[in-house]
């Protein structure tokens, strides 16, 4: 049984159909990259999986349980954590305090403040620093740490490299490699295709609320993804 199964999901923003009947499965331990242009529906899909956006149609099944109507805090308890675009840390709290807030809803598992700080030396160094004073890359590492401390079974990452300097992106992806090596299941929204493909086994490309291309990361060419991304040539019979 797949860890996550999405069937014919539809999501709206008022009058706008943001996601138009997409279906997706994610296996335990798998990392899938979700790419697509601005407005393709990636963030809305991630928010729906985290219980932060109520679907207008379709179903989301997590570990065999229908979570389509579950709220965000219930999804966290079930083991789904979202790292939102823009990080959204508590700026007045230190890195450690941000981790402790998230730890209030933690599930049993490997990750706690001490194991996190041990696994991410960057966070150890910043432990007592206020989040608002961190650089973008440091904030991103702290946001990933905050999501991990709940011991999620599924980690949803939204644009982790957006707005970061290349060195900071290197540091964030180095943190991600640690998380992936520990067996995490990840759905990653990422604009930087090269980065995404470096960690993902599968790539799914979204265009105007639909999946227009999906396949093994190693087998898709940059040209195939580019054409799907821009809708220059619509591949027949792919996606829902």
């Amino acid at each position: 049984m797949s860890l996550l199964s999405v069937e014919n999901l539809e999501l709206r923003h008022g009058l706008l159909e943001a996601v138009r009947g997409v279906s997706l499965t994610l296996e335990q331990g798998q990392t899938v990259a979700l790419v697509g242009a601005n407005g393709a529906g990636k963030t809305t899909l991630l928010r729906a999986l985290a219980g932060a956006h109520r679907p207008s149609g379709g179903t989301i099944t997590f570990d065999g349980v229908d979570i389509t109507r579950r709220r965000a805090h219930e999804c966290v308890r079930m083991g789904i954590s979202l790292v939102p675009e823009g990080r959204r840390l508590f700026g007045n709290l230190t890195v450690e305090e941000n981790l402790l807030v998230a730890a209030q809803r933690k599930r049993p598992g490997h990750w706690n403040v001490e194991t996190l700080l041990e696994a991410f030396p960057l966070l150890q160094r910043l432990r007592h620093q206020r989040a608002a004073t961190l650089s973008g890359g440091e904030q991103q590492a702290a946001a990933i740490g905050r999501a991990l401390i709940s011991n999620p079974r599924l980690l949803l990452l939204d644009e982790v490299s957006l707005g970061l300097a290349p060195l900071a992106v290197d540091a964030v992806y180095s943190s991600l490699a640690t998380v992936i090596a520990a067996g995490a299941t990840i759905l990653l929204v990422e604009q930087d295709l090269t980065r995404a493909v470096s960690v993902a086994q599968r790539v799914v490309c979204m265009l105007e609320g639909r999946f227009v291309l999906e396949g093994r990361a190693a087998e898709l060419s940059r040209e195939q993804i580019t054409d799907a991304y821009f809708g220059l040539q619509r591949p027949a019979g792919v996606g829902a």
């Binding site: 706008l16 601005n38 407005g39 604009q191 295709l193 090269t194 220059l232 619509r234």
Partner: protein, 243 residues
């Protein structure tokens, strides 16, 4: 573009604090030409459109309309000169009818007198397929209806050049196809069009030239298919292949 530009930006820069949203942009559209502008989030596309429309002033550089320097002219003056704009998120006067919304644009934005304004509105509402709902309140329209009204309002100002900001966003395939037919007809009627759109496959059905921006600069300008396969453009969207 071979003829004298109808609308032109020369060496335009615009900063917001430390951020250079536009960093020395040269851009021109000729009479009757349809140009698309693409680029990743934050590239400066909407800032450029706003500077062309006069809702934002450039930090430096010049805007010319039909050879006349309009850099210091506000949006209302430019609208009356013939620069029309349709916004990404339509915000009609909800309590007014579709026709009244259009009339406000024709009279205040286009400077047309009563009878001319009425005639222009009727023509544009028919063109935008809103004739049947002209007397309905604007807040009863769905997304496509609001997009059509946004277009009709821009056209009611009697523009020489039409600036379109992501008007296909959120439409279904059939609705986008209908919009394409409408904009093609405007182009074929001789209207100059500058269209920002993320939905590239819709855009390339209408424009003959595509400009790609990234980090406030123009990085490619030319035939649409060639621009979208330009390595710099692909890298701008998807990250460097060599990273």
């Amino acid at each position: 573009m071979t003829s004298e530009p109808v609308l032109e930006a020369v060496g335009v820069r615009r900063s917001f604090g430390a951020l250079a949203a536009l960093d020395g942009v040269d851009f021109a559209v000729g009479p009757g030409e349809a140009v698309g502008i693409v680029g990743p989030n934050g590239a400066g596309k909407t800032t450029l459109l706003s500077i062309l429309a006069g809702t934002i002033a450039p930090s430096s550089g010049t805007i010319r309309f039909r050879g006349r320097d309009v850099t210091r002219s506000g949006a209302s003056t430019r609208s009356r000169l013939g620069i029309g704009r349709a916004h990404q998120v339509p915000r009609p006067f909800g309590a007014m009818t579709v026709f009244e919304n259009c009339l406000v644009a024709a009279s205040t934005g286009g400077g047309l007198r009563r009878r001319q304004a009425y005639a222009r509105c009727i023509e544009m509402l028919e063109l935008c397929r809103l004739g049947d709902v002209a007397n309905r309140r604007a807040d009863t329209l769905g997304l496509l209806g609001r997009k059509r009204l946004e277009l009709a309002r821009a056209l009611a100002t009697n523009p020489v050049v039409l600036l379109l900001d992501e008007i296909a966003a959120g439409l279904t395939d059939a609705e986008a196809a209908e919009l394409v037919v409408m904009i093609k007809a405007l182009r074929d009627g001789g209207l100059a069009i500058v269209w920002i759109e993320h939905i590239v496959h819709v855009l390339v059905q209408v424009v003959e030239r595509l400009v790609c921006m990234d980090f406030g600069q123009v990085i490619a300008d030319g035939e649409p298919q060639a621009v979208m396969r330009d390595a710099r453009v692909v890298d701008a969207y998807l990250g460097s292949a060599a990273a």
